[in-house]
């Protein structure tokens, strides 16, 4: 099995790795780059726990082959905070208890951040549909939706 050499950028930093063409971006992020914040909940694009951005576009990293990352930019949960400063969504998720077990949280944060960049003033329904691909089994989504809505409001007021 010949391995393929890939050059990419993860959270702004250059990264390179060798991978089997069957390996997903998620496999490489977790097993080679030690970025285990992205989680594998299903491996079939149904749960969103592996959400990352690919050139700014929200995708499931379990549905992207690692070789496809060549020349592209990846954003993961590890890149959301700026240094010691948490992203307002991260802060709000803690404050609102918008997580219980926390396994879906990285994916939801990546997805919610992507939403607010596209739509700073989403309705509740827009938030719910945007996040429909991020399964959470603990919270019933209530506190997650409230955290996203209120973060959006804070960010609008701050800007």
């Amino acid at each position: 099995m010949s391995m393929i050499h890939v050059n990419t950028k993860v959270n702004g930093d250059e990264a390179e790795f060798l991978c089997d063409p069957r390996e997903t971006l998620l496999d490489v992020l977790r097993d080679q780059l030690n970025l285990t914040g992205s989680k594998e909940g299903c491996g079939t694009g149904d749960c969103g726990a592996c959400s990352v951005t690919l050139d700014g576009r929200l995708v499931c990293s379990c549905l992207v082959l690692a070789v496809e990352a060549e020349g592209h930019e990846i954003g993961t949960v590890e890149g959301i905070a700026e240094g010691e400063t948490l992203h307002p969504l991260q802060q709000k998720f803690i404050e609102y208890a918008a997580l219980q077990c926390g396994i879906c949280t990285p994916g939801i944060l990546v997805a919610a951040k992507s939403l607010l960049e596209k739509n700073p003033d989403p309705t509740e329904s827009e938030v719910r549909y945007w996040l429909a691909g991020n399964l959470c089994r603990c919270t019933g989504y209530d506190k997650i939706i409230r955290a996203v809505m209120d973060t959006a409001k804070d960010m609008r007021e701050a800007s």
């Binding site: 977790r30 030690n34 285990t36 991260q90 803690i94 077990c101 926390g102 329904s125 399964l135 089994r137």
Partner: protein, 755 residues
């Protein structure tokens, strides 16, 4: 301190601080089951039976062994040979072993048959394809009613517990019967008797994190195991039994856990990873795929139930009777007893009788799922009560209030209730604006009560003070939903130190005494109680140091707001001595100051809830949506109310999935048809409304602060409440879960045809 004094005037209890592990969880640095690495680590994969029931005639691993990167392969022969099957639950470790790795027969689709460890995950999966298994397919059964019929294939002879009446099919592994009074006389007194049959499908706990572990076991019998589990001491005990190890030589560390809901109380992959590690002499990581989680880990039981209730015109229930058949997969242990015991617990009944059957089929071994058994029982019972209220023109809340259990009621399952909060939840539901809000056309409202026992269990907690007066608290129950926060709050309350000065860790098995699995909603109750007692133990020692310093008797010192103070004017005049002043010198005044507590608390305190649901049904497609939802539940005392609300909301959401869309679907071939989240349809964000919560607080006399467990009761009422709402909206009684669109259309058409 008198118990009553502790029920009010709290400084920390009832506040809503940020959870201690919040930062870890929002930055991706929290380490869950699959996030661990070790140098030289191998990756493992498990080969699973494609048959529902088949004799394993031969397993040839030679080609796989020769494959590139393969370092070890295990089959049943690599586990202990000393365990033996026994009737009922007596042979439980043998049952676990049989489930972890099949013996001479594959008992369900997905049953583990062999496992490989290789240098990469892909190499391990590739090697599985090279293992040749010769199967002889056997007749199978997956339906609970069919499994009890005379012609059903026998899963295994000799399983039935001694309590099972003679003459039943060998697949009936357990039997429960209880009640009091004379139900026939009660039915004779009734103005109306309703009897109906109900069916629920198996549902999965659906935690988002698949089972995962990292194991290391050497030829010296010493091992290290990292895994996501609700109970690492149980994992330790079971793995030791399955691999002939000394329990204490296996140290188990619980990772962060990505949901459990009962499903991670069982042991599945950990012994396999340990066996592979022992054979390869290298660390082995084993992570389940989602399909493996669905095919081979615990769903809850499916059920077939008959419920009969008699009522007078004024709403008084005169008698109640239920028969509950639980499908438990290929092993004994379905919670037929729990189901039967919970069924009528909300009501004070003169005449009640219940029977439960634990029935084996060719399906994965059922595992606990949030109040195991109770939600299904409530579905049957509360549907019949709803029907009685409809037919007699009674208000459903008033009728439940009229019959509600209260302190002193002889429970349907035997004991006398202590102080309980059902009436308070019903009254709060009645007062809630939701109950009287107008409904739109096409909508229906349903209510239901629910009950769960709650549990205490073996618990050990240790607390160590640092020189600077801060606190390290070690508990043995994994933090599934914010329990570090509630533990820190309780410790802060006793010690009088700031919440942020307490670091809570989940200790490994070598660091504390045995902690029972995190089940039975026991964590905040039992670990909380142990935390309070451990903190009080430390306080006693702190007071002793102050007493020694002041030269007064130990009992002349008390603890207030984080300081030792003289207990009264007679004790002498000394300025308050803060905790840090004592701890700074503790090395010289007698050594480290720690508090600990080990016990099996028995006063868990049962809990009740009442839910109100509005639903809407599209009569042309049978599509249902839940448009409004309110949870009212007795928490005893909410330590961190936000996380209590979270438990209420999560239970309701899981109930909505169970009621409307989730189900295990087996084909004629006995294979699971929907082992992915694509077709095992748990609620997504756009399916649900906001879930309103009301926390009722009727203190539990068995906990210093009045805590009752809250995790499980919240899933007891939803199935029935939603069924009652959907039945009202659709205008037809729904007796089978899930109430999927085809079933609703079918029921509507049947009714139109009958009419």
């Amino acid at each position: 301190m008198a118990l009553d004094d502790q029920k009010g005037g709290f400084k920390f209890i009832g506040t809503r601080p940020n959870r201690p592990d919040g930062l870890d969880k929002v930055t991706g640095r929290a380490r869950f089951g699959a996030d661990a690495h070790a140098s030289g680590m191998l990756h493992a994969a498990i080969l699973r039976s494609p048959h529902a029931h088949a004799r394993i005639k031969k397993i040839d691993t030679s080609r796989a062994e020769a494959a590139k990167g393969v370092k070890a392969i295990v089959t049943r022969a690599d586990f202990t040979q000393s365990l033996q099957p026994a009737p009922g639950m007596k042979g439980e470790n043998w049952n676990i072993l049989e489930n972890v790795m099949a013996g001479d027969t594959a008992l369900y689709d997905g049953h583990a048959v062999a496992a490989v460890a290789a240098t990469s995950a892909l190499a391990a999966k590739d090697a599985l394809k090279l293992i040749e298994v010769e199967y002889e397919p056997l007749p199978h059964v997956t339906d609970v009613d069919k499994a009890m019929q005379a012609d059903a294939p026998v899963i295994r002879e000799g399983v039935a517990a001694g309590t099972v009446p003679k003459g039943l099919h060998p697949n009936v592994a357990g039997y429960h019967e209880s009640g009091h009074g004379d139900v026939e006389a009660g039915f004779a007194e009734a103005d109306l008797v309703v009897e109906d049959h109900f069916v629920t499908e198996a549902t999965h706990q659906g935690y988002i994190e698949p089972h995962a572990c990292l194991a290391q076991l050497g030829a010296d019998g010493k091992g290290e195991l990292w895994c996501c589990t609700q109970g690492h001491w149980n994992v330790q005990k079971v793995c030791a039994a399955l691999l002939d190890l000394e329990t204490s030589q296996l140290r188990v560390t619980a990772s962060e856990i990505g949901g459990g809901f009962g499903g991670k109380t069982a042991v599945f992959i950990e012994p396999v990873a340990l066996a592979l590690s022992r054979k390869a002499n290298r660390p082995v990581k084993l992570v389940m795929s989602r399909a493996e989680v669905f095919r081979a880990t615990g769903p809850t039981s499916s059920t077939s139930m008959d419920v009969k209730i008699g009522m007078k015109k004024d709403g008084t229930i005169t008698a109640a009777q239920g028969v509950f058949r639980l499908q438990g997969g290929a092993f004994p242990g379905a919670p037929a007893d729990m189901t039967a015991m919970c069924a009528f617990a909300p009501y004070a009944l003169k005449n009640v009788h219940q029977i439960g059957y634990d029935v084996m089929t060719n399906r994965p071994k059922q595992a606990a799922y949030r109040a195991p058994g109770s939600p299904m029982a409530a579905f049957g019972v509360e549907s019949v009560i709803d029907e009685l209220c409809n037919q007699l023109g009674l208000d459903p809340l008033d009728t439940r209030l009229k019959n509600a259990s209260h302190e002193g009621t002889k429970a349907s399952y035997g004991p006398k209730f202590q102080r309980i909060g059902l009436v308070e939840t019903l009254e709060a539901a009645k007062a809630h604006p939701h109950y009287t809000a107008p409904l739109k056309p096409g909508q229906g409202r349903g209510i239901s009560c629910g009950f769960w026992f709650n549990h205490g269990g073996e618990t050990a907690v240790s607390l160590a003070l640092s020189e600077d007066g801060t606190v390290q608290l070690a508990v043995g129950t994994p933090d599934i939903g914010g329990s570090r926060a509630s533990m820190a709050l309780m410790a802060a309350e006793v010690l009088g130190v700031p919440y942020d000065n307490i670091r809570v860790i989940i200790a490994d098995t070598a660091s504390l005494g045995y902690n029972e699995i995190s089940h039975g909603s026991r964590v905040t109750y039992a670990s909380g109680l142990a935390t309070i007692k451990a903190a009080e133990d430390a306080v006693k020692k702190l007071c002793a140091r102050a007493a020694a310093k002041w030269g007064i008797p130990e009992d002349a010192v008390k603890w207030e707001d984080g300081c030792a103070v003289p207990s009264g004017p007679n004790a002498g005049e000394f300025p308050p001595m803060p905790i840090a002043e004592i701890t700074r010198k503790m090395g010289a005044t007698g050594g480290p100051i720690c508090g600990h507590f080990e016990a099996t608390p028995e006063g868990a305190g049962v809990s009740f809830a009442t839910h109100i649901v509005d639903s809407e049904v599209d009569p042309e497609t049978g599509k249902t949506s839940v448009v409004r939802y309110t949870v009212v539940q007795d928490a005893g005392k909410a330590i961190h109310p936000t996380y209590v609300e979270g438990q209420f909301q999560g239970g309701a959401a899981q109930g909505i999935g169970w009621a409307l869309n989730e189900e295990y679907i087996y084909g004629e071939d006995g294979r699971l048809q929907n082992p992915l989240f694509l077709d095992y349809r748990i609620p997504v964000a756009s399916d649900l409304p906001m879930i309103d919560t009301v926390i009722v607080e009727v203190p539990n006399p068995g906990h210093p602060y009045g805590v009752r467990g809250v995790g499980e009761t919240s899933i007891c009422p939803p199935l029935a409440a939603i069924a009652n709402a959907v039945s009202a909206a659709a205008g037809v009684r729904m007796r089978q879960l899930p109430m999927s669109p085809p079933r609703i259309l079918e029921a509507l058409e049947k009714q139109a045809g009958d009419g």
